[in-house]
C-alpha cells in the first residue's frame, strides 16, 4: 500500500490522494501472459539430471553390473544427408514465413527419397554380408572391452534385439545387480558410402529400489563412441564405393567391420575410465584440433598407421583401410 500513496507523500503535497494505476488492463494482460509462460514450467515434474560423460569414483564402487547389449538391426544400415534445404518463405512477412515454414515438408520428402535411393544402392553389399554374424561380434567386443576394466565387474551379459524403453525397463526389473549397464550398438554406412561406422552408446544406471522398481532406469552416465573405417580409395559415386566394399565376397567390408569393432573394444574401456580432469584436458579449447572422416574436434591421439582418436561431441576413432597391396 505504501506504493499507492508514496508518490503523493514524497512530493510533499498537502492533500494525500491515491496514485492511480495507469493502464491496469495492460498490467493484467502482462501478468496473465507471464503466468501462462511460467506456470507450466513450474508445475512440470523436475527434469531428470543429465547423464554425465564420466563415471564418478563413488559410482565405480558397485559390486557388479548386469549388462544388456542391444543390437536392433538385421543388416548394415544406410544413412542420408540432404544438406540444407532452401526455405520457401519468399514473402508475406513474419506471419507468412511462419505459415509457410509450418507447411514445408520438403526436407522430409527429400530425406525419404534419398533413403529409398540409399537402400537400393546398398543392396549388393547386403547380399554379400548375408552371413555376417554381427551378434557374435558385438558380444565378443563387449565381453573383451568390459573385461579390461577393473572396477566394472560385468555380470549376466545378455544380448537383446529390442531397443525400446520397455525392453530396457523389463531388463532392469529382472536384473539382480546394484547397477545396470546398457550398450546399444549400431553399424552402417556413411551417406556417401565411403565409410563404415560402428557406434556404441553406453549408459549406466543405478538399480531402482522400493516403489521405483520396475520404472525406466534413469542413467547417471552416458557416452557415445563412434568408430569409423573409411575406404582407402574413395569415389564420388556411391555405387562405386558399394562395389568396392562388396568386392571379393565383401572382403573390405568385413575387414572394416572387424577394425571398427576392434577399435570399440579398445575405446570403450578408455571412455569408461576417463576422469573429470582428463576429460577437461582432452576437450580444452587450446588443444590441437583435427579433422577426419567428416568429424572435427580436439585431437586426443594419433595412431602409428595414420588413424586418430578425437573428441567431436563424443569419442570418435577414425581409421583408413590399407591399400589392397598392403593388406595382410
Amino acid at each position: 500500500m505504501i506504493g499507492d500513496w508514496g508518490a503523493a507523500a514524497a512530493s510533499g503535497g498537502g492533500v494525500l490522494r491515491p496514485v492511480r494505476h495507469r493502464k491496469p488492463a495492460l498490467r493484467l494482460l502482462i501478468g496473465l501472459c507471464l503466468a501462462a509462460v511460467v506456470a507450466p514450467a513450474a508445475m512440470a515434474a523436475p527434469a531428470p539430471a543429465k547423464p554425465s560423460a564420466i563415471v564418478a569414483e563413488r559410482d565405480r564402487a558397485a559390486d557388479d553390473r548386469a549388462v544388456q547389449i542391444v543390437l536392433a538391426q538385421k543388416w548394415i544400415e544406410t544413412s542420408v544427408d540432404v544438406g540444407r534445404v532452401a526455405s520457401s518463405a519468399g514473402g508475406g512477412g513474419l506471419i507468412g514465413a511462419i505459415i509457410i515454414e509450418s507447411m514445408d515438408d520438403k526436407a522430409r520428402r527429400m530425406r525419404d527419397a534419398a533413403a529409398q535411393k540409399a537402400e537400393a544402392t546398398v543392396a549388393p553389399l547386403r547380399q554379400v554380408l548375408g552371413d555376417f554374424d554381427a551378434d557374435a561380434l558385438v558380444l565378443a567386443t563387449t565381453r573383451a572391452a568390459l573385461g579390461q576394466i577393473d572396477w566394472f565387474r560385468p555380470r549376466d551379459i545378455a544380448l537383446s534385439k529390442d531397443a525400446s524403453p520397455d525392453g530396457r525397463r523389463a531388463f532392469a526389473a529382472s536384473a539382480d545387480a546394484p547397477q545396470i549397464a546398457f550398450v546399444v550398438y549400431s553399424y552402417g554406412l556413411s551417406p556417401d558410402f565411403t565409410q563404415i561406422r560402428a557406434v556404441a552408446e553406453i549408459s549406466l544406471a543405478h538399480q531402482a529400489t522400493g516403489k521405483a522398481r520396475g520404472a525406466a532406469p534413469a542413467p547417471y552416465y552416458r557416452q557415445t563412441i563412434t568408430s569409423v573405417v573409411q575406404l582407402d580409395r574413395r569415389s564420388y559415386a556411391p555405387e562405386d564405393n558399394v562395389a568396392a566394399w562388396a568386392a571379393d565376397d565383401g572382403r573390405r567390408a568385413r575387414a572394416a567391420l572387424d577394425k571398427a569393432f576392434g577399435s570399440l573394444e579398445r575405446t570403450i574401456p578408455y571412455a569408461l575410465n576417463l576422469t573429470e580432469a582428463e576429460l577437461q584436458r582432452l576437450t580444452g579449447k587450446d588443444r590441437e584440433k583435427a579433422f577426419g572422416a567428416g568429424f572435427y574436434g580436439p585431437l586426443i591421439a594419433r595412431d602409428p598407421d595414420g588413424g586418430m582418436l578425437l573428441w567431436s561431441k563424443s569419442l570418435v576413432h577414425v581409421q583408413t583401410l590399407p591399400p589392397a597391396n598392403e593388406e595382410g
Partner: protein, 240 residues
C-alpha cells in the same frame, strides 16, 4: 530420373577416378593439361625424366549441397499470395534441388574446375591438386580454421565449395549462386583466416524442359559454375 542418369554416364565413368587424399591419387598441375595420346615407347629415344612433383598442395573440397528456390509473382501479394506461391512451387523446388545435386554433384564440380587453370585463377604456385571427399557438416566446412586433411606440407592451401544454389525469381529470372572459401596456410600458422566469397550468374537453359535439353542444361550448369568460381577468384588475394 532415368534421363538424368543417361546424361550422367560420362560422369560416372569419370567418377572412377578416385577422390581420396592418398598421394597416389594426387594430380600434378601439369597433368591437368589435355592428356596426350599414348604412343609406343621408342627404345632409341632418350629416357624422359618424370616432372618433379611440386611441393605445394591445393586441396579441393567439392560440396554435396544442391538447393533450389523458385518464387513467382504471387509472393509479392501479402501473406495469402506468399503461402499460395510456396505451395504451388513446392514440388518444383524439390525436383530441381534433386536434379541440381545430380547434375552439379561433386564429380561435376571437379570436372568443371579441371577445365580451367585453377592454380592460375587462385594465383598459386605450381601445386599438386588433390580432390577430397566432400564435407557434409557446414559447421566444419565454414568455420574450422585448421587444416582439413592430414597433410603437413608447408605450402598448403584449401579450396572449399560450400554452396550450390539455384534460384528463379519473377523479376530477376534464373541464376546459379556458389560460395567458396580459400584457406591459405603458407604463412606457417596452424589456424588461418578464411577468405569467403561468392559468385552468381544467370542461367538460360537450366532446368531443362525436355529430354533433348538436358545435355545443354548440364553443360550450362558447369559453365556457370566455372564463371562463378572465376568471379570469386578474381577478387581473391593470396596470403602475403
Amino acid at each position: 530420373m532415368a534421363t538424368i542418369a543417361a546424361a550422367c554416364v560420362p560422369i560416372m565413368a569419370a567418377a572412377a577416378q578416385p577422390a581420396s587424399d592418398t598421394p597416389a591419387e594426387t594430380t600434378a598441375a601439369a597433368a591437368e593439361e589435355a592428356p596426350a595420346p599414348i604412343a609406343p615407347v621408342d627404345a632409341a629415344a632418350p629416357p624422359v625424366e618424370a616432372a618433379p612433383v611440386p611441393d605445394c598442395e591445393l586441396h579441393v573440397f567439392p560440396t554435396i549441397e544442391g538447393q533450389a528456390m523458385t518464387t513467382g509473382w504471387l509472393s509479392g501479394f501479402g501473406i495469402v499470395g506468399a503461402v499460395a506461391d510456396a505451395a504451388s512451387n513446392k514440388n518444383r523446388n524439390i525436383s530441381e534441388a534433386e536434379y541440381l545435386k545430380e547434375a552439379l554433384g561433386p564429380q561435376m564440380q571437379i570436372d568443371a574446375l579441371q577445365s580451367i587453370d585453377l592454380l592460375a585463377a587462385l594465383k598459386l604456385p605450381p601445386s599438386q591438386i588433390i580432390y577430397e571427399t566432400p564435407i557434409a557438416d557446414r559447421k566444419i566446412s565454414t568455420k574450422a580454421t585448421t587444416r582439413l586433411s592430414p597433410s603437413a606440407a608447408a605450402c598448403y592451401v584449401e579450396l572449399i565449395i560450400t554452396q550450390n544454389f539455384y534460384t528463379k525469381r519473377a523479376i530477376y529470372g534464373r541464376s546459379l549462386n556458389n560460395r567458396f572459401i580459400v584457406k591459405d596456410f603458407r604463412t606457417g600458422k596452424k589456424d588461418t583466416a578464411m577468405v569467403k566469397g561468392r559468385g552468381g550468374n544467370g542461367l538460360s537453359i537450366f532446368p531443362p524442359k525436355t529430354g533433348e535439353e538436358e545435355a545443354a542444361a548440364n553443360q550450362e550448369l558447369r559453365d556457370v559454375f566455372v564463371k562463378n568460381f572465376l568471379e570469386f577468384a578474381k577478387g581473391y588475394a593470396p596470403a602475403k
